[in-house]
Symmetry: C2
Subunit: 186 residues, 2 copies
Amino acid sequence: MDRRQLKTQQAIRQAFFELMKRKTYSKITVQDILDEANVGRSTFYEHFRTKEELLHAICADIFSHVFCPSLEPEMRHDFSNTNDFRHIVIHMFYHFYEDKEELKGILGSESKEIFVQDLRGYLGELVYDYVFKVYKNAVFPEDLLVNHIITSLIELTLWWIKGDCKETPEQIAEYYFALILPVLSA
Amino acid sequence: MDRRQLKTQQAIRQAFFELMKRKTYSKITVQDILDEANVGRSTFYEHFRTKEELLHAICADIFSHVFCPSLEPEMRHDFSNTNDFRHIVIHMFYHFYEDKEELKGILGSESKEIFVQDLRGYLGELVYDYVFKVYKNAVFPEDLLVNHIITSLIELTLWWIKGDCKETPEQIAEYYFALILPVLSA
DNA sequence: CCGCTATCGAACATTGTATTTGTTATATTA
DNA sequence: TAATATAACAAATACAATGTTCGATAGCGG
């Protein structure tokens, strides 16, 4: 990739994070980003169609580390050992901890919704596969249960990051399974 | 209140709901509302400072029925009998069922966030009081638990309405407590 | 070194918000 | 029912932000 493109991509992303320390997502204008990143107007629009597309790209960056397929080939699509899912969750929390500062910005404003929406996408299949290895009873409708398991994970994440990640990733994972396992084995 | 004011208030609210059947919240412009409601521009701004303020007002309308203080004086601030909270929840689902159509519109677009935010406000104290009548163990941090109980209620509501309220209010309430009671008495 | 292309920046069209102003219509109350 | 208050209205306007276009310039890779 052309160095120039790379440079502006980085400049824009960095500017975005910088601005997020000071302003709320919806208050940040494209112009703000251009000024902060020292990038021409038309250049920005050659890279991203809208401000929202930029945010999606940034989320994708984050998730590409979190849900990296290559790093954990053996723990995918095999939940015969229930611990695999536990490992993935812990792994996720570790990565979120690394991106703590950026995430605090994103989750502290309207951008939260987009982040959550994207995260839901990634967790969807994953949780679905998991739940039906563990879940035996037919107390709940399938999708209600899956929705609750996903939602609980997401909301716990939000709570954790909002509170500045005081607990360790392992501790948070413990909390998570303490919240959902009683339901799965009701 | 002046009949004229009442009339425009109703016209605006009704126009809003009508538009929500066709468009997403963020796609609805003030102009759309003016046209649909047959109301002058300046008139609108004499009633609401912004479109968002209108939405808050509409949410307040809905919640005023749901969390009506006068209707249930005996079941407030007394959770010595745990069933009181159960009744409030069922009562809530009943009202949401009545407002089903409107809620589907609101929850089906960006307006969801504002609705949820407002609902959180109403549920906050209520759930807090409830949880610590029931909860005995010190497995979770207080606010984590409260957050989870509130969130689960909200997300279950969203799931239910999105799915067109196929279950009865009582049924949904059952699901809710089946989701949270195992956690509270872990 | 040459050709390709990314960047620049200014201008522009567009859309939407919110305010202001003066006029008209409709309530309330005396 | 007449007088007073005030709500509704239309039109004009300021303003803020988005997204597009275009010709010139500078930097990259082969």
